[in-house]
Symmetry: C2
DNA sequence: AATAATTTTTAGACAAATCTAAAAATTTGT
DNA sequence: ACAAATTTTTAGATTTGTCTAAAAATTATT
């Protein structure tokens, strides 16, 4: 499988999280930042390699083989991210692009030895679960901050958007994985949320609140 | 620079070690396991990118920029090899192919942080020097075992051939970096060498002796 | 149900990196 | 010095992954 094919498999995997139908050509094109025509070409190639099911105008759906392949790439991506943060002291907003390259390194032995070296981490720097060596992904229980009721609290366990811009903004707000957040008030006018964090009160926009995951006991 | 271009730059660098003239098209083709016509195409592309000097029928010669680029790729290759052996417990015969991929990961920050994490190693698992962040390579003083006089001794500091086959053979003979070897006798008939290693005497072929580097006092 | 809007596919082109076969240049041998 | 051998380059084709423009199919609107 080429680097490009692997990135498409991963994109289809992520997009089919919500969708139970096939993933649309346009959705893949948007995710991959490419043209619909390129996507059609690629889906056909992937179908020939038996990693997706494809029928004209019906979108793409991963086969079991395709899902296993996706899990493996995601495992590599997240293990490398963990390595970069925990061992090389990168911050959580710097690691995604590098892991995007590292995830394509071919050796199976490498990834198992890396896993051992890191002592079998289960969660990556953004709170996302790391698939195990059999490709099983443990679902993490989490709720969007935007849908938490006034007066309730929770621990930050993940982010929906993991762009550097957003992560650096969270750093500025001192919001990190493991922090406790209490929802003090929700403003109906613009859906902004007043939260308590480390004894200080801050107001965050609906958009920000919609990209932070909490675990509520 | 593409992965392929980087591999060509590295090949030309290694081949120009001995050669003071340009490196021949055929020599590059042999090293890269490709056809002479492909090499000609690539040299032209590299010349356009100003990393090699090229005149028809005169072979390829790296520019200063090309040499700096080569040193950087070799730095990355050897740092990753060191990481794989020292941190992930790979053996010295397993790391070359993986490093061949890892050396192309783009981030400068990654390689500087890796260097720091590894505590600035100067020698890779095969005894080859690791270029520093400015691309300077410290020449290691070393002599081929095959050219060491009877009665003299030295410490193993490197190998000329670093194929897995050869390295695994050395493992079998218990020859590793740091071991002391004394030349007890040289057989004129086939140039084989009788050596003392850890109080045992073993006989090695001329070919083997010609691929082991020693440092003599 | 017909038309309009949108999505998806096809057709044709292009750049990168490779190949084979043939031509051109250089080097070697006598 | 000239023919033969070798090396190198060119010409033309192929594969991968991409693009634009246009055609075809599907979905939405009236
Ligand atoms: Mn990727
Ligand atoms: Mn992540
Ligand atoms: Mn390489
Ligand atoms: Mn090495």
């Amino acid at each position: 499988m080429t680097l490009s094919e692997e990135d498409y498999i991963k994109a289809i995997y992520h997009l089919s999280k919500d969708e139970q139908k096939g993933v649309s050509t346009n959705a893949i094109a948007a995710q991959m930042d490419t043209k619909a025509s390129s996507v059609t070409d690629m889906i056909k190639r992937l179908a020939e390699k038996k990693v997706v099911h494809y029928k004209k105008y019906q979108g793409a759906r991963l086969t079991e083989e395709g899902k296993a392949y996706a899990a493996k790439i995601i495992r590599k991506h997240r293990l490398w991210e963990f390595f970069l943060v925990e061992k090389l002291n990168f911050s959580w907003d710097e690691v995604h692009d590098i892991a995007e390259e590292l995830e394509h390194i071919k050796s199976d032995k490498l990834i198992e030895k890396l896993d051992t070296f890191l002592d079998y981490p289960r969660i990556d720097p953004h709170g996302d679960p790391i698939p195990d060596s059999n490709g099983n992904i443990k679902k993490v229980e989490k709720t969007l901050l935007s849908s938490i009721k006034k007066g309730k609290k929770g621990i930050v366990v993940g982010v929906k958007d993991s762009s550097s811009e957003f992560l650096r903004y969270l750093d500025k707000l001192n919001i990190a994985l493991g922090e406790e957040i209490t929802v003090l008030n929700k403003e109906p006018f613009d859906n902004s949320v007043l939260i308590k964090l480390n004894d200080s009160e801050i107001n965050i926009s609906a958009m920000t609140a919609n990209n932070i995951f909490l675990k509520t006991n």
